[in-house]
């Protein structure tokens, strides 16, 4: 059985101008020791979906799902107190901005031991030792002295390591990393990604990696979900996706990369992700899709074999007879 199983997750936000659907029917399942990547542009709902899983959304959000099972337990039906026992212990999350997600008023050591004392209890000395051990594990030199450092005394890469130390403190079964390297330099990014994968393998964790960087997906993940405007448009193994994307959006995302450009100009996707007010009729991607047909403009597609498209692309090249107008 899968470690995490979510089916038909939907998140609505109540706003002044009406209800906004940020996540629209996402299904995902993560096995133990699996790395799943979730990609999409900003505003595609990738962070919101994971925050909904963690129960970290504000009260304006209305989360509904057919099922949300973690390790056999139903997260939806349990009360807050029971849920807090799982969140932070068995499921933990790393956020995008390492500098802002640590509390500037407390030392790094305090923030790590807080997790330990909350979930395990024990003496202060025991979790101080554990904190030092954790800092060693994530590759922070002179860990003993760093316990008394404040976040502003550390660099971005170091802060992210501290965040990771905090999150693996309880040996979670599932780690969610929300754009863990976007704010970091390439060399530090490589170090952090390597560390995450190393920890994932040594601790036997499952890892959900949220990112907008296709290159990071290619190098780390096994399974990938592509989101567009809150909808899951394609779900496949990374190898297949990169070889022959079947949804036009996935294909367009890959083609927009500079390394796939032919000649001097790149292949951008025209337009922007639709907002609350300008949701198109039919398929949400149709105004930006180069293959859109009349049917796409009229009728929203249904999910088939993990692909949300009326005319999925046929590998390796699209079937031109169907598509050219």
């Amino acid at each position: 059985m899968a470690l995490l199983e979510i089916s038909n997750l939907t998140v609505d936000f109540a706003t002044y101008t009406g209800s906004l659907r940020a996540v629209d029917g996402i299904n995902l399942s993560v096995d133990e020791r699996e790395i799943l990547a979730i990609v999409g542009e900003s505003g595609s709902g990738k962070s919101v979906a994971m925050l909904a899983l963690m129960g970290l959304l504000p009260w304006t959000a209305k989360v509904s799902a057919d099922s949300m099972l973690f390790d056999g337990q139903d997260l939806l039906s349990m009360n807050d107190k029971q849920r807090r026992k799982i969140i932070g212990k068995d499921i933990s999350m790393i956020f995008q901005e390492p500098m802002t997600s640590l509390n500037p008023c407390f030392t790094v050591g305090y923030q790590i031991t807080e997790v330990l004392s909350h979930h395990f209890g024990g003496s202060r000395r025991s979790y101080n030792n554990r904190a030092i051990e954790l800092l060693h594990q994530v590759g922070i030199p002179a860990a003993e002295t760093r316990l008394n450092a404040y976040p502003h005394q550390l660099s971005g890469g170091m802060c992210q390591r501290v965040m990771i130390a905090m999150m693996i403190a309880c040996q979670p079964k599932l780690l969610i990393a929300d754009e863990p390297t976007t704010a970091l330099d390439v060399t530090i990014q490589a170090q952090i990604l390597e560390l995450l994968i190393e920890l994932q393998q040594s601790h036997g964790m499952a890892l959900i990696l949220i990112t907008h960087d296709m290159a990071v997906v290619a190098e780390t993940a096994e399974q990938v979900i592509v989101l567009y405007a809150g909808q899951q448009v394609e779900q496949r193994s990374v190898k297949e996706l990169f070889k022959s994307p079947q949804h036009p959006y996935s294909e367009a995302l890959l083609n927009a990369l500079p390394e796939r450009a032919q000649g001097k100009l790149l292949n951008p996707i025209p337009g922007v992700v639709p907002g609350q007010m300008d949701r198109p009729k039919g398929c949400l991607f149709n105004p930006r899709c180069s293959y859109a047909q009349e049917l796409c403009r009229q009728q929203p597609p249904e999910l088939q074999d993990g692909i949300l498209c009326h005319y999925p692309l046929v590998a390796p090249k699209p079937d031109l007879d169907v598509r050219t107008q």
């Binding site: 660099s155 170091m158 390439v186 060399t187 390597e194 890959l254």
Partner: protein, 331 residues
């Protein structure tokens, strides 16, 4: 040969840093000897980790700050030697800048039209109508619709805002545009739109770009020449093709191998860079890169390497000079 727009020779910039009460102040070497030439219609990319002096270089080129020492000529005029205000004003108009964060660089209380025409109001004596006309022309050039003139920045997405910032930079008809991480805050699909716009504008107007970025995939695509910086110093400098296909300096090799590639077949050998950028207040002796370099030996801790030409590009490395280095396979 194209017209030379910027000539920089051995630029240095030091900042004084207080180290405590009654302690002598230390100097932070933000730039320690940068030289390059920039020609019309060309793009020079500056890459490196944060804290390597990329942005300080941008501030010096746009004359926001003066270099501590070194020579900087813009459009044939030596900046340090000119005292006349009108010429300096002219030079400032020649070099314009686009900033990294399109959400922070536009005043939220001003309309788009006003934001774009502000440089004209300050620097020219055009009438309101003429300014208006020029702004509309510029908006069309960067792909903004006319009716946006009366709108506010919050009504636009990141990509559109970056277009506004580009329009503002181009309105004074500069010859050089300094682009400080212009696409790093944007999504891939929008990033491609903005890069295409920059390339088209360059071809149309013959602009020269200084393209500051840490995304090597973008740099590889857009640049003619690349300068890799480490701790305020260029370590490798040369034509884009040479630097990317046959990187010679160990730091360039490490940077390239750390950049993720959107290819799934086969794992690449990755050079591990341990540690982080040392402090520019007291940089390591000898070669600044030696504590993180896999080829470093005793000489590297003592002797400071100088830029020398090897093959097509200039490299400052003792290991390269003494041929103790294996080349990274071209990807």
């Amino acid at each position: 040969m194209n017209h030379q727009l910027i000539k920089a020779r051995d630029l240095h910039k030091y900042y004084a840093v207080k180290s405590g009460y009654l302690q002598p102040s230390k100097s932070l070497k933000a730039l320690a000897g940068v030289s390059f030439d920039l020609y019309e219609g060309k793009t020079l990319a500056v890459v490196g980790e944060s804290g390597c002096g990329k942005s300080t270089l941008a501030r010096i080129l746009t004359m926001i700050e003066e270099p501590t020492s070194g020579q900087l000529s813009i459009d044939g005029i030596d900046v340090a030697k000119t005292t006349e205000k009108s010429i300096k004003k002219q030079l400032r108009q020649t070099v314009q800048m686009v900033f990294q964060d399109p959400f922070g660089s536009l005043n939220p209380r001003q309309k788009i039209g006003n934001i774009i025409q502000e440089p004209l109001t300050i620097n020219t004596n055009l009438s309101t109508n003429e300014r208006h006309q020029k702004v509309l022309e510029m908006m069309e050039l960067v792909g903004l619709r006319k009716e946006y003139f009366q709108r506010y920045p919050h009504m636009f997405s990141g990509g559109q805002r970056q277009r506004i910032a580009i329009a503002r930079a181009l309105i004074l008809k500069p010859k050089v545009v300094v682009l400080d991480e212009p696409v790093s805050a944007l999504d891939v699909s929008i990033q491609a739109q903005v890069i295409n716009l920059l390339i088209e504008l360059q071809q149309e107007l013959g602009l020269a770009y200084i393209f500051i970025s840490h995304d090597l995939n973008v740099v590889r695509h857009i640049s003619d020449e690349v300068m890799v910086m480490y701790l305020g110093k260029p370590v490798e400098q040369g034509p884009s093709e040479a630097v990317f296909n046959t990187p010679q300096h160990p730091y360039t090799q490490a940077l390239l191998s750390a950049t993720p590639q959107a290819v799934v077949d086969g794992k690449r050998q990755r050079i591990k860079l341990t540690g982080e950028l040392p402090s520019p207040i007291d940089p390591p002796s000898g070669c600044a890169f030696n504590p993180r370099c896999q080829y470093a030996d005793k000489d590297c801790q003592i002797i400071e390497p100088v830029m020398e030409l090897y093959g097509d590009s200039k490299v400052s490395c003792l290991a390269v000079a003494q041929q103790r280095i294996g080349q990274l396979k071209a990807s």
